[in-house]
């Protein structure tokens, strides 16, 4: 059956069994392999993507049920409506060196990003509650928690500092490269994260 999808802002059509979980459509048909398979039963969070900005487990979501919805995967999240949160998360992740084997981390980042969107200032308990659906067998939990707090902090700093505020929340690419505030480390870092995102998108086509 032909199914039309909106993935990372791109309209696509796939011809698959309508019951096929979204996970296998993005991985095996659209070659967006950043979203991982861990359990297939909504138990581990490795397959987390966003539907209209909210996290869902793509391994148990039939592809036919997401027609007409905006789907975002790890490949698109840093340029999605949640770019402010996801860029802050990725930056904190790199700074703290959260990742070990990395296999769970796309899912962790998607969940953490959604958490910060819903709750820009989460407590430890909020983080435990929101993130406990994401298993990390390397047990990077301590650093994930630190990463979320650091990302929340950097978003706060960004919204206090007006010049970096432009950078952090504006999704218009042209503005990213016109920062003009050499003093703001947040702005600089955001710029470099964004540059690597651009890079990433080029790379994604390669992989396909």
């Amino acid at each position: 059956m032909k199914i039309s999808l909106d993935i990372n802002g791109k309209k696509q059509e796939v011809d698959v069994d309508p019951n096929t979980p979204l996970l296998w459509v993005v991985r095996d048909h659209l070659n967006l392999t950043g979203t991982k398979f861990g359990c297939g039963m909504a138990l581990c969070g490795a397959c987390t993507v966003h539907m209209n900005g909210n996290p869902i487990r793509s391994c148990v979501t039939p592809v036919s049920s997401v027609q007409g919805q905006e789907i975002t995967t790890i490949e698109g999240v840093t340029s999605s409506d949640l770019s402010k949160e996801s860029n802050a998360v990725v930056e904190a992740w790199e700074d703290i060196a959260v990742v070990q084997c990395g296999y769970c981390q796309s899912g962790q980042i998607m969940s953490a990003t959604a958490l910060l969107k819903q709750n820009p200032n989460p407590t430890d308990q909020d983080i435990d509650g929101f993130m406990s659906g994401n298993i990390c067998r390397c047990a990077t939990y301590k650093r994930i928690k630190e990463g979320i707090k650091q990302a929340a902090q950097s978003m706060k700093v960004a919204s206090i500092n007006p010049s970096s505020n432009d950078v952090a929340i504006n999704v218009d690419d042209s503005l990213f490269y016109d920062v003009g505030n050499e003093q703001s480390t947040v702005a600089q870092k955001t710029e470099s994260v964004n540059a690597s995102v651009m890079d990433q998108e080029g790379g994604a086509d390669h992989v396909a």
């Binding site: 069994d17 950043g34 581990c44 070990q100």
Partner: protein
């Protein structure tokens, strides 16, 4: 590069002649996808512009330093660790360093601690590479210096190198590595290199960014992500019981599934091949297989444990015998006994087992095979695949990808899932790439578990409360029996069954450790920290029980018994101090538990602080001290301790594999539970400063947490438990 004499090469062990002409290969080989081929041809055309003095370092004219990592990156940070060693001696700029996984090639990439065998395990990566990778970097540096000297017509002694730039101070000339690469490649490879004094280190001992990149963007490529042209995905219906065999099968329904292209029988089941995972899984689940269970394993875990307990009543093979235990017990005023039970454990790596294989045939015979996966014991897998196809190992090319965790699972002497992929490809016979994927259920059911064990301990105390006799009996399956690692069995004792117990460091005059090795069809394997997963728990819990009877402080008692083991004392002292042991144990409402253990040459002590409330017990904090010699990457060491503690908490609190009439009772994360964010305690890691040769950190954090936690719970007033996972509910 072309005029080094063969003689010069033979004098340096780490310079291997076969690498010299293969700069192009060195560049391209780790890239699994179609652009790998493109990169190969680029590399071939730029070969002469590339300095590649050994199998590990390539410097190209775009000023990149590419380090080939002979060990599997499975999260433990080996890309970062080995690259640090190269970059340190090369005086590279960390930003210009990139890493790639090595292919299977034992003549170049053997594990220096394992003889002629390429593989990763036993926390050996840094230990066996420390000298080798530093020399590899120093060699390249010397050639860059030589090139600059000849370019500028100045003596080599006038050249300095700093952060990727080569300088001549007197003339102010400066140039980067990329510019010199071509010229440097013409230098004679030095026969001797000078390595830095540790006081000159600029990268070793500092926090550096990780080199296993692409993991926060979804770009890093794991086996699961390989998509090659015409690739098929295979799922397998495995036997429901260990030792059962296919007697017949009906694939009618499976073959009706859209996308399913073939169904083939293999030695351990029936495989369904389809265009994507979902089709293959749908087809696999529709197979009707009749199993021959006549020789299958049908015992239950309880039954097995009862057999183990009965065995433990009898003397076993002696692994350690110091002093005279019988006399020791005869002198004793008080006897203490305890026994501990450990279930089977699955590794449950985040990425279930998988492997991509393509067979190339000429007519009806297979000419060569190429594989892409997170290879951990390259040489073993390469030989197994070659054997299965009737090829020589050099016809089996293994591309090493990132592994989504291993914890021992991918280093299997039986090459189980690798051979399974090859058998499917062989049975299908079309020469297309086959991606074998296990579902989580397949992975949980497949075996190769940490073996079940039973430990029985007995100690004698004299009138003054001194420990005068110690007897320890261990019962369980051998991991290495019948494998290529069988050399680890000596005098009938599998070292991996008793390590951590047979070499107990405590100064006890009369000590005996015995082993009963049991047989079973349940496949077993090493699991992060191997023997220490159970021996550390048994010995460290038992020691605390002794301390309680003898009314001694658990830290003080250990310190007294470790007189001749300064590094054990070092970590114990540091962990106790950082946790505030002496003040806190007296004044705090919270309870404290400690354990110390050495595994794989690394010493770890942990103190667990537990709070008791009306809701139950809560782990407040874990304080960990580690001594792994020179701390190459302190942040990676800390990460491995944190992760090792988290990994060890799962079997301490939640995980077990049980057999019900031979059938594995667990299938996925709902019944094989593992710790999650809400179970993870706060952890402080402290590293003992050391100039000893570096040892590994992937495993040694894991075995210490369960006993430290059990001891803390006992100190908090919880009833002692003698079986893992603990029943005590934590909040």
């Amino acid at each position: 590069m072309l005029h080094k004499s063969a003689k010069a090469l033979s004098r340096r062990k780490f310079l291997i002649s076969s690498v010299q002409s293969s700069a192009g290969l060195v560049l391209g080989m780790s890239l699994p996808l179609s652009h790998a081929e493109a990169d190969n041809s680029d590399a071939a055309s730029s070969v002469t512009k590339t300095l590649s003095p050994n199998a590990f370092v390539t410097i190209n004219d775009s000023n990149k330093v590419i380090v080939t990592i002979k060990h599997l990156e499975m999260g433990q940070g080996t890309f970062t660790g080995l690259a640090t060693l190269v970059a340190e001696e090369l005086d590279a700029d960390w930003a210009q360093v990139e890493c790639q996984g090595a292919e299977a090639a034992v003549e170049k990439y053997a594990n220096g601690l394992w003889g002629k065998f390429q593989g990763t395990g036993g926390s050996t990566a840094i230990a066996n590479s420390y000298q080798q990778m530093r020399e590899a970097g120093a060699t390249a540096r010397a050639m860059l210096v030589g090139a600059a000297a000849s370019l500028w017509r100045v003596p080599v002694t006038a050249i300095t190198v700093k952060q990727g730039m080569v300088h001549h101070a007197a003339t102010g000339k400066s140039v980067n590595f990329g510019v010199l690469a071509e010229l440097a490649a013409l230098q004679t490879i030095p026969q001797e290199v000078e390595l830095k004094d540790p006081s000159e280190f600029t990268l070793i001992g500092k926090k550096v960014s990780r080199k296993d990149v692409g993991k926060t963007s979804g770009k890093a490529i794991f086996t699961q992500d390989i998509q090659r042209p015409n690739q098929l995905t295979a799922l397998v219906a495995h036997p429901p019981l260990f030792g059962a065999k296919v007697s017949s099968f009906d694939a009618t329904e499976a073959l009706k599934v859209n996308g399913v292209v073939d169904v083939v029988q293999i030695p351990n089941g029936v495989a369904v091949l389809a265009k994507d995972y979902w089709q293959a899984k749908t087809g696999r689940d529709l197979l009707k297989v009749q199993w021959d269970e006549s020789v299958a394993f049908t015992k239950s875990s309880d039954e097995l444990m009862n057999e183990y307990k009965a065995l433990a009543e009898k003397p076993g093979l002696v692994a350690t015998d110091n002093g005279n235990v019988d006399e020791g017990f005869a002198q004793a005023d008080q006897i203490i006994e305890a026994s501990y039970e450990f279930p089977y454990l699955a590794h449950a790596t985040m990425e279930p087992m998988n492997c991509v294989v393509q067979l190339h045939s000429e007519g009806r015979t297979f000419e060569r095979a190429e594989l892409w996966y997170g290879a951990q014991i390259h040489t073993g897998d390469q030989m197994a695949v070659a054997g299965a196809l009737g090829l020589t190992p050099d016809k089996v090319k293994i591309n090493t990808l990132f592994a989504g965790g291993s914890f021992g699972r991918r280093g299997n002497a039986h090459s189980d899932y690798v051979l399974e992929a090859v058998q499917i490809a062989k049975a299908h016979g079309k020469g297309v790439p086959i991606k074998l994927v296990w579902s989580r259920e397949d992975d949980t059911h497949a075996g190769y578990y940490r073996p079940m064990y039973f430990h029985k301990l007995k100690a004698g105390l004299d009138k003054a409360g001194n420990l005068v006799a110690w007897q320890h009996r261990i019962v369980g399956q051998s991991i290495v029996k019948g494998t290529g690692f069988e050399g680890l069995i000596q005098n009938g004792i599998d070292h991996t069954s008793v390590e951590g117990a047979s070499n107990l460091p405590y100064g006890i005059p009369n000590k005996r450790v015995e082993l009963h090795t049991t047989e079973s069809k349940v496949p077993v394997l090493w699991w992060r920290s191997v023997g220490s997963t159970h021996t550390a728990h048994a010995t460290e819990c038992f020691l605390d029980e002794i301390a309680a009877v003898a009314k001694k402080d658990p830290v003080a008692l250990r310190m007294a018994l470790l007189k001749n083991h300064p590094r054990h004392r070092g970590v114990l002292e540091l962990a106790a101090k950082q946790a505030g042991w002496s003040e806190q144990t007296k004044s705090s409402e919270n309870a404290f538990g400690v354990a110390v253990h050495k595994s794989f040459g690394t010493y770890v002590a942990q103190v667990v602080e537990v709070a008791k409330s009306s809701q139950g017990y809560k782990i407040e904090r874990v304080t960990c001290a580690v001594d792994c010699g020179v701390a190459v990457n302190p942040d990676v060491i800390k990460a491995q301790m944190e992760g090792g503690i988290g990994y060890g908490l799962s079997p301490a609190l939640l995980s077990e594999i049980t057999l019900n009439k031979g059938k594995v009772a667990q299938s996925n994360f709902h019944d094989y539970q593992v710790i999650r964010m809400n179970n993870m305690p706060d952890i402080d890691v402290h590293i003992v400063p050391s100039t000893e040769p570096p040892t590994g950190v992937g495993e040694p954090g894991t075995p210490v947490i369960a006993p430290a936690l059990s001891n803390a719970l006992a100190a908090a007033g919880a009833e002692r438990e003698y079986r893992l996972p603990l029943k005590t509910q934590l909040v």
